[in-house]
Symmetry: C2
């Protein structure tokens, strides 16, 4: 038996009676120390051990150190299931998303997991269907049943205010990932997409491009709106008129990028550059250009957004905007578990991250 060698420092008759009342020993194969063992070895009560574990209440330094020593010595780890039951709250962080870019989800997971490493938290992933009328109920039952400690909401569903209200209602911490800064830094991690798009568009303009096409994101997406705003601002700033025909609707998918590019290619004269609101669509533009024999970047410059792996794998590699998703995921997770871990509680996690232009081979000055 694991603890037979430990000295029992108190002869508590109540405890002895308790031990005697146990009808039969459980399977001791998975014998792990419980809080009772720690209390017995330290000569205190469970409550006191719980106090040092949860840093609640005040207690003598001697007592605390004694208990901490015993914990360290036995390698005691509190049982998460029992904690969850007593606390009514689980040590799980949920990642709720609605099938946006696959690479983005994975980078997000990576960032969150980095923050959760060496903590007691685990990551639970949960895709939802935004178009389903039951979506809110699904999420609600997910949060309530699993008693999640917190959730990270990925765009585009992070833009649904009802979801945020739901989290408040069921008392679940949450962080919304987004493309524009809300006035709620505790529940929001965002990037400065607008500035980055302005920078990208200025880059094209500086090279001499004047007929620049835009492939937008789907309607109703905040990120799509913000990126389009930045694009239009940069053009207006340079005094360039933007005819409606140069704006093509996209759906953030490769195929929609191809379709949008086809429509832009049919214009007379053709745009000399295209800004696509994400890399998937930019890859579609490149694909469509190749199909038509349009040389990139000689006859057509392309800029994407996201800097997903595909941007660097196509030929020519795409100039794009790098979005620090991993760092944002880490920050989001730290915002949620921040008060539960004792790692430097002072410095606030940043809420805004800077996206930067990555110059590769898909951009060149326009032909004369």
């Amino acid at each position: 038996m694991l603890f037979a060698t430990f000295a029992v420092s108190t002869s508590n008759s109540c405890y002895a009676a308790y031990m005697k009342s146990v009808p039969k020993p459980r399977n001791k194969a998975a014998a792990k120390p419980t809080i009772n063992d720690i209390a017995r070895l330290a000569g205190v009560s469970k409550k006191t051990v719980s106090r040092v574990i949860n840093r609640s209440g005040s207690l003598h330094d001697d007592t605390r150190e004694k208990i901490e020593a015993v914990i360290r010595e036995t390698g005691y780890v509190p049982n998460p299931q029992a904690r969850a039951l007593a606390l009514g709250r689980n040590f799980l962080i949920g990642l709720v998303h609605d099938n946006p870019n696959a690479q983005m989800i994975l980078n997000m997971q990576q960032g969150i997991l980095e923050a959760l490493r060496d903590t007691d938290f685990e990551l639970v992933v949960r895709p939802v269907d935004r178009s389903s009328p039951d979506m809110l109920d699904d999420v609600r039952s997910f949060l309530v049943r699993q008693r999640l400690y917190g959730v990270v909401l990925l765009p585009p569903i992070s833009e649904i205010d009802a979801l945020a209200r739901l989290c408040e209602e069921v008392n679940c911490k949450y962080v919304r990932m987004g493309s524009s800064v809300l006035d709620d830094p505790d529940h929001m991690v965002a990037s400065n997409d607008r500035d980055a798009v302005i920078e990208a568009t200025r880059h094209l303009i500086a090279l001499g491009h004047r007929r620049i096409g835009l492939i937008s994101g789907p309607h109703g997406f905040n990120s799509a709106q913000v990126r389009r705003d930045g694009f239009e601002f940069a053009l207006a700033e340079a005094g360039i008129k933007l005819p409606r025909s140069l704006i093509a609707d996209g759906q953030y998918t490769f195929e929609s990028g191809i379709a949008a590019a086809e429509s832009l290619f049919d214009l007379q004269p053709r745009p000399t550059a295209i800004f696509a609101c994400n890399d998937e669509m930019a890859a579609g533009v490149l694909f469509a250009a190749r199909s038509r024999g349009i040389a990139v970047p000689e006859e057509l410059s392309i800029i994407g957004f996201d800097d997903t792996p595909i941007a660097a794998r196509v030929w020519p590699p795409l100039t794009t905007v790098r979005w620090p998703i991993v760092a944002m995921g880490r920050s989001a997770a730290l915002k949620i578990i921040g008060d539960a871990t004792s790692v430097s509680p002072e410095d606030q996690e940043p809420s805004t991250f800077v996206s930067t232009l990555v110059r590769r081979g898909s951009v060149a000055p326009p032909m004369k």
Copy 2:
């Protein structure tokens, strides 16, 4: 520090908020009924309710139907935390992986989540570091602490026998994903990579290719070995000699594909076709060919493996082998939770899946 802490005041206030939110619009799931409520409403004991929930023991049809009616009526859902504590087993499925292809992880998650949909199970993701000496201990503490119901092991770490033994030891169900069939169908889901590679290679040979290069996967990977075996088998079968110089080492990464392609391009004469053991490396070959001005598929045919999204997004789109990862993930999850769900317990989940050749634009007959 070692343990997470809770702010007591937060916990209290949220409890109050939760209690206040009980007068709820929907009469269904907000006020969570307990098993005691069900027992009282049905006029039976907790134990009997538990019997119908867990399908254990035998009991009168009248009793069962009565209880089921009450459960349906009240929208009762058993508390997962309490179940986990009493059962010593959580309703969580773990996905343990060591950073292989990102797209593969995501497809895997999708497949598993499809199987878990409408069950009480959730998916917990856990990346590990295979090169770390603590890897086994990390996984062990993960399994033991979270009391996982089961885990899905992704390649390449699925090939580590010690991991499988560890799962047995801690009494955790597991399924290993792989590229070759082991003799343990209960714990293995595999695809017939070898046959698929043979088919792909035969395809190249039938078109007239004789100098075919191979970019292998990293040493020690079973999938790499199996794919290489298939390649060599198909060449031998056609009586084609394979000089060692036509085999280049790859690491399953885009960059290693570029490097391996460069070395093959330096050969005199150059190979007319290259089989890369995954799409990432195949994309690297295409990238390297473009850099050198080698026309694909006119001067060089390329075949990849996996059919990840990138294969269809580059130009020309890559001929590749499609691996039914999503279906395999679903099957793996069903193998684990199969006996816990009442969905047709008779039909065994398949252990072997068929990979098929997808013909796209990166293959053509060799030039004369």
